[in-house]
Symmetry: C2
């Protein structure tokens, strides 16, 4: 942390394309990370780029990723390989009067760092609880906690948020001035990841409800 | 294309972790690509991994990406750098009785390839039209097409789908047998990217409707 409420502005976290969309404030970076459910984690493996979708959680100024100790990519990360973790929320389609000015409204965060394996039991437990909390707040207290075998069978790594930036586009299209006279609809079609009706496990015993709900199916 | 309805199964498109979730059929790969709006494109830049969210479109067995010729990453791609393009659709949260077996239902596609710049005017025009069609079907015919200056100001690259794989998780949690007796709700909370009410550009002239709609605001 730099102590002034924002991440470090380094060579690679400087937003070059459309810099007005860039933001380095922790508050903005945290908000994007805490809303997104999946991160795209990039690393170099045998000289080639690899990008994998992963669940993740933020605790303070660190991101936590987890998986099987048998995962080649997690082992590469544990070995100190640098990663780029990118998180994107899609907020809307931007329809302009010209094909050229079509766009997408989004909020994204890019984090550069070198993952470290989490070996401290308390930190590992907190990270795994935070990962379960992403499913729904309070969930980690509702479920059977990980046992010793499961803890040993889960590799957790963390990446610091020191070198991070957010990039955000909002609002209507920006058309060329002469195109505003065209007889073409323009604006934004908002998009949002929305939850449907919970589907109980076919093996769920009758009468067990999702806390806060009054029926097993709705 | 391999001619038998699926992508090549190479060393790196072999799904190693939970191989039952892997799929190499074109039909499956295409369906995921055609539903997703944003791809996460990974490449190696100055020795480090970089992952950026980009709009994209599929035409036949190729993916098309576009941007400013001034973009450092697009210039790196044009220079023949290898990329990994990953596309992920989030379908639901999987709540298990144990913390350990929580999961996410998803459909993802990973494509490895070396982008080539699209210079043929017909192919470039078709790619840009396909990109605009992602906003909504028929959109490219509704809007002012790109002029010569805009075409020159847009760099389009394509990546072949030869080396691609899909990975999909569906269905309820898989708990340990003894945990099925626990008094804990388990199942799936479906998630879906849904469109809201279109928001007209504040500068939209009165009476211009989005085709297929009968009111400017709904």
């Amino acid at each position: 942390m730099t102590g002034n409420g924002q991440a470090l502005i380094t060579e690679r976290t400087t937003v070059r394309r459309l810099p007005a969309r860039g933001d380095h404030r922790w508050s903005v970076i945290h908000a994007v990370l805490d809303e997104a459910l999946v991160a795209h984690v990039g690393l170099v493996h045998d000289g080639s780029p690899v990008v994998i979708p992963m669940a993740f959680a933020r605790v303070g100024e660190r991101l936590y990723l987890h998986g099987s100790p048998a995962s080649r990519l997690l082992r590469t990360m544990r070995g100190g390989a640098e990663v780029c973790v990118t998180v994107t929320l899609i907020d809307g389609l931007v329809l302009a009067r010209s094909a050229f000015h079509h766009s997408v409204n989004y909020r994204s965060v890019v984090v550069y760092g070198a993952p470290v394996e989490v070996t401290d039991p308390d930190e590992k437990g907190a990270a795994l609880a935070a990962l379960v909390e992403r499913a729904r707040p309070g969930r980690s207290a509702e479920t059977r906690p990980p046992n010793r075998k499961e803890l040993a069978g889960t590799l957790v790594v963390s990446v610091g948020l020191e070198e991070a930036s957010a990039k955000i586009r909002t609002g209507p299209p920006i058309d060329d001035e002469e195109d505003y006279a065209l007889d073409v609809w323009a604006g934004e079609i908002p998009l949002r990841l929305t939850a449907g009706v919970p589907v109980p496990d076919p093996r769920l015993a009758p009468g067990i409800l999702l806390p806060g709900r009054t029926s097993g199916r709705t």
